[in-house]
């Protein structure tokens, strides 16, 4: 075996520095042996194989410590991962990301402006009190209140009333096809008003009880250290098997999460990025699985100028090497993707969406000669911009790869592009601060939507949408968005969504790069949890058990 540093060997030996010698020796041992290991395909699907027996206690890693469990204040991935097991909603997201009625027995549009929720009987809160329609109405009004984190879900709501012993009628200003689905998210969470009011402002902070109905109750929360949830003593749904006895949550950044899993100090984690799973592939005792999510990496075009002409955007989309990016940045654990949302968004009419996706053009996984020719022709037609195209990076590994790939793509088709580095702390300001957007023509980000409906995303292409920075404007598109929001029939809405998707991909206001699946890492003897992004709202711990009976 050759030393990997033939040129440096002379200098290294001559200098005879102990450190250099040790480093060099370390490298010859590890360097070439790990080269070009083919990426192993991870199992992909809504769930991991069903568990065959219960487990007493598991330690689960979160990306951060939960800040509060008052979801009307704020919520993120950490809070949702925990309270998906503790709290329940009117509707429920399933591991396959479809939505079914849950605390509501049914939810129906009775006419163009009224939705009726029929509340399930026999549900009890963790304090033993029964859940009434009045409790549900109180919860919905709390979520809808001005300033509440979930109030945007209630934007079209005119009024909410209890219209029967177990019936709540919501009056809407217009049909809103997303509303019922949104009730599977935190906007549809049902809280026990007696507990919330007794706690007052302290509700949601460490040391206060939860106010929910779910299969787990909140145990001890030691701030800065750990948080435990325990199997609820008498969960209302007897038919629901609840496998894990307790889950102890700890939190750390991603590299520490990976280390904890590798060292066997943690039993599992929903990873922040598929890239984190790459080093875990070599750990024998950890099993990995991926599932659909709505997350996708995209390059968002800004209003700065050079990309105003859609032909330049189309050309870049044709020339960028998506599969190169997924290999380099995600170790092959993300997929080249033609649309700006992951397949987890296909919460209904999945086959229709898949078929339409397959037919999309203009965003090849790897550009072929024909794609590059077309891209060059588009550039020639539009005329190359006078200034170089600026693409923002934050020095992080994914953005570094994406930006470099864009620069390479631009070069290939006769365009000039440069990278500008923006600190990661400032990166989020690209959405809110025009001055920050003035620094770059494209910025990369992982975008996701909370509802599994493409319509919820494609509204971003309307000429009035706040994130349509580049100013894509098409009156037909705007009309389609309106129509799609009013279409409460799934088949009809999917057709409209597919048309929106086609128009979006054609105009490419954002350049789609890769879909970033939800990724779960588990101790090898555990199984059962969903692999999809459903873990944010679905009681996954109830399905978590051992593989041997």
């Amino acid at each position: 075996m050759n030393t990997p540093f033939p040129r440096r060997r002379l200098a290294g030996t001559a200098l005879a520095t102990g450190a250099a010698a040790i480093l060099l020796a370390g490298c010859t041992a590890a360097g070439p042996s790990t080269s070009e290991a083919p990426a192993v395909e991870l199992p992909f699907g809504p769930t991991t194989p069903a568990a065959s027996g219960p487990v007493d206690s598991v330690t689960w890693m979160l990306p951060a410590e939960p800040a509060t469990f008052d979801f009307d204040i704020d919520s993120g991935a950490a809070e949702n991962t925990v309270f998906a097991n503790v709290c329940e909603r009117l509707m429920a997201v399933q591991p396959d990301l479809t939505t079914v009625p849950h605390l509501a027995e049914s939810a129906e549009w009775v006419d163009d402006t009224h939705v009726v929720f029929t509340i399930r009987d026999g549900v009890t809160f963790h304090d033993g009190s029964p859940m009434t329609a009045a409790d549900v109405l109180w919860s919905m009004q709390r979520h809808a209140a001005d300033g509440a984190d979930e109030s945007d879900e209630y934007a079209n709501v005119v009024s909410m009333e209890q219209t029967g012993e177990r019936e709540i009628t919501v009056t809407m200003a217009q049909r809103d096809a997303i509303f019922i689905q949104a009730m599977a998210g935190n906007g549809g969470m049902v809280l026990n008003p007696r507990v919330v009011e007794a706690q007052g402002d302290a509700f949601g902070s460490p040391g206060t009880p939860d106010a929910c109905t779910g299969p787990y109750t909140l145990g001890e929360w030691k701030p800065g250290s750990s948080l435990t949830i325990e199997r609820a003593a008498d969960y209302w749904d007897d038919s629901r098997e609840v496998l894990a006895g307790e889950v102890v949550f700890r939190w750390a950044d991603q590299s520490a999460v990976v280390n904890a899993l590798t060292a066997g100090e943690a039993d599992g984690s929903y990873l922040d990025s598929p890239a984190s799973a790459v080093p875990l592939q070599q750990v024998a005792d950890v099993s990995l699985a991926q599932g659909p999510s709505t997350n996708a990496w995209v390059l968002l075009a800004t209003e700065r100028g050079p990309l105003a002409d859609e032909r330049i955007r189309q050309a870049l989309s044709l020339a960028i090497d998506r599969s190169g990016i997924t290999t380099a940045a995600f170790g092959g654990l993300a997929q080249p993707w033609k649309t700006p949302i992951g397949q987890g968004a296909w919460g209904y009419e999945t086959e229709a969406f898949q078929a339409a996706y397959d037919e999309l053009e203009g965003a090849p996984a790897s550009p072929g000669a024909a794609d590059l020719e077309r891209a060059k022709a588009l550039v020639a037609e539009a005329g190359a911009p006078d200034e170089p195209i600026l693409v923002a990076s934050d020095g992080g590994s994914v953005r570094n790869v994406v930006s470099n790939a864009l620069v390479a793509a631009a070069k290939q088709i006769g365009l000039d592009a440069e990278i500008v580095t923006v600190p990661s702390a400032q990166y989020g300001d690209f959405y809110s601060d025009e001055a920050v957007r003035g620094q770059a023509d494209l910025f990369s980000d992982e975008y996701y939507i909370s509802k599994n409906d493409p319509v919820g995303f494609y509204k971003n292409g309307a000429s009035t949408a706040t994130v349509n920075f580049v100013g894509f404007s098409d009156p037909d598109y705007d009309a389609l968005v309106k129509e799609a929001f009013a279409a409460t029939d799934d088949a009809e809405r999917s057709e409209l969504a597919i048309e929106l998707q086609r128009r979006w991909v054609e105009a490419t206001p954002w350049i789609s790069i890769a879909q970033s699946p939800s990724t779960v890492a588990l101790r090898a003897e555990l199984s059962g949890v969903p692999a999809s992004a459903a873990y944010l709202y679905y009681p996954w711990a109830a399905d978590l058990g051992t593989t041997e009976g």
Binding site: R7, R8, A11, T17, N404
Partner: protein
């Protein structure tokens, strides 16, 4: 290496250069580095930013002598082309810091009294403030880029040099020849710059070469933190930063190659510098 009486004798005979292999090799290595800095772009087999997604994390091969990084870029070419940027920075920062530091140190030592106290307090304050933190502050105010980093680091290094200069200048100024020049009526500036400074040079030089290593590493640190060179530059510190994601996957070359380059240059400069100041000191 064994230092014996013969060795000492040889050195006195002026034959040390030929019999000091460590010095010779270090000097030759630095000569090579300078050549690379000057002509690297002509030798490099690939452009430093040429991405090849089919050759990610490649092992060393005839096509890629040192392998490739996370974007399939040729590490050998990147190393060659990064040499210039990686070396000019520390040299410039050292030059700047030396001018400021030596001036402050000499003035303080020469004047003594309240000037000395005042300058000592100023350098104490700058001394007490962590250098890197100061640099980050300067960058926050003046924006980032390789040259802001160099200027900021020069300011951060100046107090250290000032303190050192003052202490050796004090002992130098106590020597009789200084008084002799004074008696002859030579001006303070003339004595300090033309007479005292050259006599301090060996000690100062020995100190400066140690600082060169530190300066190179500080600049690499800044690039590593994202405050110095910007991608797709192949400055060595930035190369280490960009390559670190591979470590956890077992791909050490992208960090090790520039890391070793930094280490080798620092070590070689230290060896050459220490020997050089010894020799100058012996002559003086």
């Amino acid at each position: 290496m064994t230092t014996t009486a013969t060795g000492a004798l040889l050195r006195r005979d002026g034959l040390a250069r030929r019999r000091d292999p460590l010095y010779a090799v270090s000097l030759a290595f630095l000569g090579l580095v300078v050549l690379v800095a000057a002509f690297g772009p002509l030798v490099a087999p690939y452009p430093p930013d040429a991405i090849d997604f089919t050759a990610i994390w490649g092992s060393p091969s005839p096509a890629h002598l040192l392998g490739t990084d996370q974007l399939g870029r040729d590490l050998f070419s990147r190393l060659l082309l990064g040499t210039r940027e990686s070396l000019i920075g520390p040299l410039a920062l050292l030059a700047g810091a030396t001018v400021i530091g030596v001036a402050i140190g000499l003035v303080a030592a020469w004047n003594g009294g309240w000037v000395d106290v005042l300058l000592a307090r100023i350098t104490d304050v700058m001394f007490a403030f962590p250098g890197l933190l100061f640099v980050v502050l300067v960058i926050a105010v003046f924006g980032k880029g390789p040259w802001t980093a160099v200027v900021a680091l020069a300011l951060a290094y100046a107090p250290v040099i000032a303190k050192f200069t003052r202490s050796i200048a004090l002992s130098e100024l106590a020597r009789p020849y200084v008084d002799a020049y004074r008696v002859q009526g030579a001006s303070a500036v003339h004595i300090a710059v033309r007479r005292v400074l050259p006599n301090m040079t060996p000690a100062l030089l020995g100190y400066l070469v140690v600082l060169f290593g530190e300066g190179l590493m500080s600049l690499a640190t800044l690039s590593y933190l994202g405050f110095g060179a910007q991608p797709p530059s192949s400055e060595w510190g930035l190369m280490v930063q960009e390559g670190q994601d591979g470590i956890v996957l077992g791909h050490f070359a992208p960090t090790l190659v520039p890391g070793l380059a930094i280490a080798a240059v620092v070590v070689a400069v230290n060896i050459v510098g220490v020997r050089l100041s010894e020799r100058l000191g012996a002559r003086a």
